[in-house]
């Protein structure tokens, strides 16, 4: 009984291959966007984990509080006292002319779980690491150093790093006898002496690189995931519409099957199996497409993560079972969600229920009213979220309520507009057109909702990115006022440089920084000189009168916006910075791109508080035309590293490049989401066209030509898309406002001004209307080509 039932159900798809294709493609596209984003996230997170495993293992590390190197003698004392520690040194150097980040490890004492440590001790890979100066790197990194003779490619190492034995690394970095940190093994002897007794200058830091990076990049990945989910939701609209239609079209078949003796439960079970086949097929195609999308976008994401957070992520994609399984699960889950309603209806359907497709295209006033009520409730919830919500999750929940509420409100708004147009229309043809359009709205509403979401996201994210770009560019000009930035390798070189530079520059502005704890959080402290460079340019959001005079006294400080928002601090407040250290907040400055809290104080006050600190970085003021000659002279005179001296234009160009690449991904996902929405319209129009024959045949019989009907179909799609676009503008702006004023503040700790970009809306309008025309061309052409015999059948057959 199962086989003939399944065959009968599947025969529908053989007869309707286009519908079958749209169902599978809709689900596949939705899965592709979601799994593509998941693949990127999974790749990035795996890179953080590899970095942590390879460098520090999952455990804690010992470091000097002042950031100075650890002496070899301290390491030996700790080992003798029973502490299970392993040394690490890290730095930048050049191999065959290419700059690399070198990590020195001691494989014999490295904690378990360190991939490089394990490789060094294995017979297969380890030859030469301990004795012969062999270096290890991930295959892609090794491939980037073709001239290096002694590099071995080891699978599973963090990308962008080169590993060496600790002794070899000390030699290559010219830092004999020094370590940067000591890794702590998970298991330590219980009777070991206290750290304070053996090495009081060392402090314990728990959580490795992975934790730091994961925390720093969480918001970035959350944004990507939100985009993936949005695309998936848009895709689900297609699947829901297609499955709903397929169920409605087969109502007569279901009735016949039941009348012929197929039990309801078996019918539902077989339909579930049928949907399962679709879900798996679409899942396989979707995850394949997702892989391609991820592979295309990953280089930009990798560049963003490196630029913004210093996280090394390889630009090439690895196949991972976890995201593939997630993609398949989401395809199956999506199908289940999209079909639950239809299956429930079928299970409750009396055997002799009317066979005509109705509910899908003829939503009742009651349903419309219910939808409108739901829309109002969700929009009210979004308003409450804006007023009372706290945290990133609450921010995204607010966004969700806003978007879904607006989507539910769309059919009601469209019905009102079309009803109004019908009332105003005077001639019979426009009257019929508007009445017919009103009848089409329930059938097209899911696709139009998808379009609304895609357009609003486009406007919202576009407004956010453009506002950010405008603010960021201005901010860069203010923050990077100096012409040159210089980094010395040590205090001795710093002193030499200052002496040499004094007669050759207008000003040398030392940049000193350290870390302290403010209100229980790690914070950056920067010392800046009292100089017009800062007085005239520093991007202050709030300020007390005579702010710079107050800072110059050493009694007042400036704080970044992140600290101000997180702790609710305003200018004039007093901030406790230490046991005997309090300072007045004289100003709040914008600090885009920095995930940490930060304060600025006068250099003299900084020297007094941290006498051991030496300025190794400097901002130099020189006449603009002297910048390049001075850079050349500096490089010629001193043994400076390749990035030790950098001009303002290069930093700006680099920052802007990072910025642009960050949003390349958003832009690509935006376009893909819009394409999916366009596909949703095509799907709905195509599938509706067959069901519309009973409505069009009488009009045709009364004298309207095929060509006129086809033209009106095209016009209808364009008008509905235009109305949806008009509704999408305020929704998109609301979305941008929430992104800029709620999500951004919660996720990153800074607020941005919102600017409007009507030209971008115009471009989007052309794209959206173009998509609507493209989507409706085929159905209109099919209608134009419908043979009269098909239309005549309407009058002789039950449909």
């Amino acid at each position: 009984m199962i086989r003939p039932t399944l065959q009968a159900l599947m025969s529908h798809w053989r007869a309707q291959p286009l519908q079958c294709l749209t169902l599978i493609l809709g689900l596949a596209l939705a899965t592709a966007l979601f799994s593509g984003v998941q693949a990127i996230n999974s790749e990035a997170r795996s890179a953080y984990a590899q970095a942590a495993d390879a460098v520090s293992g999952p455990g804690a590390v010992l470091e000097r509080a002042d950031g100075a190197p650890i002496e070899q003698a301290q390491f030996i004392s700790l080992r003798r006292a029973g502490w299970m520690v392993s040394p690490v040194i890290e730095g930048r150097t050049r191999i065959s002319g290419t700059q690399i980040r070198l990590i020195g490890i001691d494989p014999l004492t490295a904690p378990q779980g360190s991939r490089a440590g394990q490789a060094a001790l294995s017979q297969e890979d380890g030859t030469g690491f301990l004795s012969g100066g062999t270096l290890f790197a991930a295959p892609n990194t090794a491939a980037g150093l073709p001239d290096a003779q002694n590099i071995r490619a080891i699978e599973g190492l963090a990308p962008g790093l080169v590993f060496a034995d600790i002794g070899v690394a000390q030699e290559m970095l010219k830092r004999p006898g020094e370590f940067d940190r000591l890794l702590l093994a998970d298991e330590q002897p219980l009777n070991r002496p206290q750290l304070a007794e053996i090495a009081p200058e060392l402090q314990l830091r728990t959580g490795g690189t992975e934790g730091d990076l994961a925390r720093l990049t969480d918001s970035f990945h959350l944004n990507l995931t939100a985009f993936g989910l949005l695309s998936f939701a848009v895709g689900l609209f297609i699947v829901h519409a297609t499955i709903g239609l397929a169920f409605e079209q087969r109502r007569a078949m279901f009735r016949t099957l039941r009348a012929l003796g197929v039990p309801a439960r078996l019918l539902v079970t077989v339909l579930l199996a049928e949907l399962g086949i679709f879900a798996v097929t679409a899942g396989l195609i979707g995850t394949g497409l997702g892989y391609l999308i991820a592979a295309a976008l990953l280089p930009d994401v990798a560049a963003t993560l490196t630029g913004l957070y210093g996280a090394n992520v390889d630009g090439s994609l690895t196949f991972r079972a976890n995201w593939w399984l997630t993609g398949m699960a989401i395809a199956i889950l999506g199908t289940a969600v999209a079909s639950t309603n239809s299956l429930q209806k079928l299970a409750r359907l009396p055997v002799l229920a009317p066979a005509k497709p109705r509910a899908w295209v003829m939503a009742s006033d009651k349903t419309a009213l219910l939808q409108a009520g739901l829309a109002l409730a969700l929009l009210a919830l979004a308003a409450l979220g804006v007023i009372f919500g706290r945290g990133v999750v609450a921010g995204f929940a607010t966004l969700g309520a806003l978007m879904i509420g607006a989507a539910f409100a769309l059919p009601m708004i469209l019905r009102l507009c079309v009803g109004l147009a019908a009332r105003v229309a005077k001639n019979v043809k426009p009257q019929w057109f508007w009445a017919d359009t009103r009848q089409q709205i329930p059938g097209l509403s899911l696709a139009l909702m998808a379009l609304l979401l895609a357009l609003a996201t486009n406007i919202g994210v576009g407004t956010m990115v453009s506002s950010f770009r405008l603010t960021f560019t201005g901010w860069l000009d203010q923050r990077l006022a100096s012409e040159l930035y210089l980094r010395a390798s040590d205090a001795e070189q710093a002193a030499e440089l200052q002496t040499w530079l004094a007669p050759r520059t207008d000003a040398i502005l030392p940049l000193i920084n350290t870390e302290i704890e403010i209100l229980g959080r790690p914070a950056e402290v920067f010392g800046i000189a009292d100089h017009p460079t800062y007085r005239d340019n520093w991007p202050l959001l709030e300020r007390l009168p005579d702010v710079w005079d107050r800072v110059a006294t050493g009694q007042a400080i400036l704080i970044n916006e992140q600290l101000s928002i997180r702790e609710g601090l305003r200018t004039g407040d007093t901030l406790t910075l230490g046991p005997d250290w309090q300072a007045e907040i004289a100003g709040v400055y914008s600090d885009y791109g920095n995930p940490r809290i930060q304060i600025l104080l006068n250099t003299d006050a900084m020297d007094a508080r941290f006498p051991d600190l030496t300025a190794l970085q400097f901002a130099l003021r020189v006449p603009p035309d002297q910048t390049q000659p001075l850079m050349d002279a500096l490089n010629e005179k001193f043994d400076l590293g390749p990035d030790a001296v950098i001009d303002q234009a290069s930093i700006k160009a680099f920052s802007l490049e990072v910025f642009e690449r960050t949003f390349t991904v958003s832009a690509a996902l935006n376009i893909l989401t819009l394409s999916v929405a366009g596909f949703a319209i095509l799907t709905s129009l195509l599938t509706l066209s067959a069901m519309r024959l009973p409505q069009l045949a009488p009009v045709w019989a009364l004298g309207m030509t095929h060509a006129t009907l086809a033209r009106l179909e095209l016009l209808r799609a364009v008008l509905l898309a235009a109305m949806t676009l008009i509704a999408a503008v305020p929704l998109g702006l609301a979305l941008a406002w929430v992104l800029l004023n709620v999500i951004n503040v919660e996720a990153f700790g800074w607020r941005l001004p919102m600017y409007l970009f009507p030209t971008a809306w115009l471009i989007l309008a052309v794209a959206a209307l173009g998509a609507a025309v493209l989507a409706s061309l085929w159905p209109a052409w099919r209608l134009y080509r419908t043979p009269p015999a098909h239309l005549l059948k309407v009058f002789v057959n039950e449909r």
């Binding site: 003939p4 309801a264 055997v351 002799l352």
Partner: protein
Amino acid sequence: MLLEVEKVQKTYASASGPVTILNGVSFQMNAGETLALTGESGSGKSTLLHIAAGLEAFDAGSVRVGGTDLAQMNEPARAALRRDILSVVFQQFNLIPSLNVAANIAFQARLAGRVDPDWIATLTERLGLQDFAGQYPEQLSGGQQQRVAIGRALAARPKLVLADEPTGNLDEATGDAVMDLLLDLVASSNAGLLMVTHSERLAARLDRRLHLRRGALAP
């Protein structure tokens, strides 16, 4: 006894209050017997047929098919009854549009697990459908579609055929031809036939005739 209907009551709820469709209808049918059910529109003929097929529930009384009480059956058991013991021929044919003629004829026999290729071939030939076996319902005329529906109903060799105005959509000549075939095939498979019809002429061709008037059998 093939079919026993005893004091069956059926009431529908309507906006103006409950409407009694069947009011204590009782009759019996023997194996191989043919019975016409006539009456005006709205007299309850189709409802009675649907109740006998287990497609619709009733409020009071009892219906036994082959000795089994329908009131005691759950939905899967009633579905099994429709597969194994009886077949329904609908006025609107209710063919599966995506299956061809051959697959439609064999469909119920396959559901019941009683496929007899020789019998199906005989049926197809007797119904004059052998040249249309690969065609789909929408490519057939109304009379051809009704013949496919009859073939499907008889392919599983049911004990009882319930036909709801099987010629109601056909012209007189085609209707007569279809009717000849139906009676002939029912007789050759020794099945019982309960047929709803408006036609006095067709009703006269069956063994017995019951006339429904306002939900009750007319004397």
